[in-house]
């Protein structure tokens, strides 16, 4: 496993891409084609994701069927709202590369850009 939570991320993206409810076995079959991984690792990771609120599950026979609690777009939008919220705690925590658009200053910069040669990067 490379890096923190890498497998969690891979599995979440597989669940999102899968569309419908999915079992551990189905994801394991797909995942074991591209990497050597133990069934129990996939199972415990999905259990973790369920515990952390990323996945919800319903029992079907002897196995669980997992679905994502929210779509990838919803999570992205939530993170963006948090990241771009002015004021509050996030402002001191996250360090943005450059001030956001809408800043009065960016009008000055926009005029600078307008005066640049009109070549765009390919």
């Amino acid at each position: 496993m490379r890096g923190f939570g890498e497998l969690e991320s891979v599995i979440m993206h597989m669940v999102w891409d899968y569309g419908g409810p999915v079992t551990v076995r189905e994801l394991f079959d797909e995942l074991s084609q591209e990497r050597s991984i133990a069934y129990t690792t996939v199972m415990s990771t999905m259990d973790n994701l369920h515990r952390k609120g990323w996945l919800q599950r319903v029992k079907e026979g002897k196995a669980y069927r997992y679905t994502a609690t929210a779509s990838r777009e919803e999570y992205s939008a939530r993170l963006m709202r948090e990241a771009l919220a002015a004021g509050g705690d996030t402002e001191t925590v996250l360090s943005h590369f450059v001030a956001q658009i809408g800043d009065p200053e960016s009008d000055v910069l926009r005029s600078v850009v307008r005066r640049l040669p009109a070549r765009r990067p390919e």
Partner: protein
């Protein structure tokens, strides 16, 4: 000592701001600001300690003098050593200590809350985003708004949006990542959190208010330096302009542009010539040494003087 602290808190911001305005040497500028803060805090601590020890050693004499002025004649020791005098002074000391504790607790709690926020945000971003194979700990979120930021946390994350990727060419992208990596490896968020906490805990102190803005500006410039070394100035400037305005900018086309971003761009476009740069470095270094040495020097100088004052007959 108190006078020194007041003077530094009141007058140093103007001097420091002038010296560090251009960001010729962002690192020295940052050190000078931090030295001013440390100097004020240290001299205040020393002054407080002096006050407490003076009060402790001179208390009975003070109480006797006060007692005499109230009653019109000398009091017997049991009177001024009684609870009437000791309770108010104990209450004053206690409430001062309590106020300090509340401030410290509030500061600690806001830091802790910010930390939890950072952990939650980076953990969620690392799951939701797609990993950028070229850079570890960097994820891309599906979002139209162009944004690039880093989240200090365990683990830390650098987050880019698809909106940002659309505006950057590969060189500009590595410049942005190098900039954010410099923030994380330099633990810049700790410096920003310190100055934010101080200006929130002790509002209205010019030094702390000003330091908050200046420290954040200078850490940006430090990260810019790292990114410029890594990917070159043109790529970095183009990335700043592209993400600052939301329009793609070719790296080769550059122009001179009033605000923080503009200062960052201008500084990268027109580096100061060597001789003013050396003078600025020398000035910043001397100011830093002066600020660092002053509390100790003042204690050494005023020590004998203070002893004389305490030993005066009326006291």
């Amino acid at each position: 000592m108190c006078l020194y602290a007041l003077a530094v808190a009141r007058y140093s911001p103007a001097v420091l701001a002038r010296l560090s305005a251009t960001g010729v040497s962002a690192r020295l500028g940052l050190t000078a600001w931090l030295a001013a803060i440390a100097s004020v805090l240290a001299s205040l601590a020393i002054a407080f300690q002096d006050l407490v020890s003076a009060a402790a050693s001179g208390w009975h004499l003070l109480a006797e003098a006060f007692c005499r002025s109230v009653t019109g004649h000398a009091c017997a020791p049991p009177v001024y050593r009684s609870a009437i005098f000791e309770i108010p002074i104990a209450a004053t000391a206690l409430s001062a200590a309590l106020a300090a504790a509340v401030l410290a607790w509030r500061y600690g709690r806001s830091v802790q809350r910010a930390q939890q926020l950072a952990h939650a945000h980076s953990a969620a971003a690392l799951v939701t985003g797609r990993r950028l194979p070229a850079a570890s700990g960097t994820v891309v979120l599906d979002a139209p708004q162009p944004a690039a930021y880093c989240v200090p946390g365990r683990p830390a994350a650098i987050v880019l949006t698809t909106g940002a990727l659309a505006l950057l060419d590969p060189d500009q992208l590595t410049a942005v990542i190098a900039h954010e990596k410099a923030h994380l490896s330099g633990s810049h968020h700790l410096l920003v959190a310190l100055t934010c906490g101080l200006s929130a805990a002790l509002p209205g102190v010019p030094l702390f208010t000003r330091a908050q803005a200046e420290v954040s500006r200078l850490t940006e410039m430090l990260a810019d330096d790292a990114a410029a070394r890594h990917s070159g100035r043109p790529a970095l400037i183009a990335a700043l302009l592209a993400l600052g305005t939301g329009a793609p900018v070719p790296s080769r086309a550059l122009a001179a542009a009033a605000g923080d971003v503009t200062a960052r761009v201008q500084r990268l476009l027109q580096p100061a010539p060597p001789s003013p740069r050396a003078r600025n470095r020398l000035a910043l270094t001397s100011v830093t040494f002066l600020l660092a040495a002053a509390p100790g020097l003042l204690t050494w100088l005023t020590g004998p003087l203070a002893a004389h004052v305490v030993a005066l007959p009326w006291w």
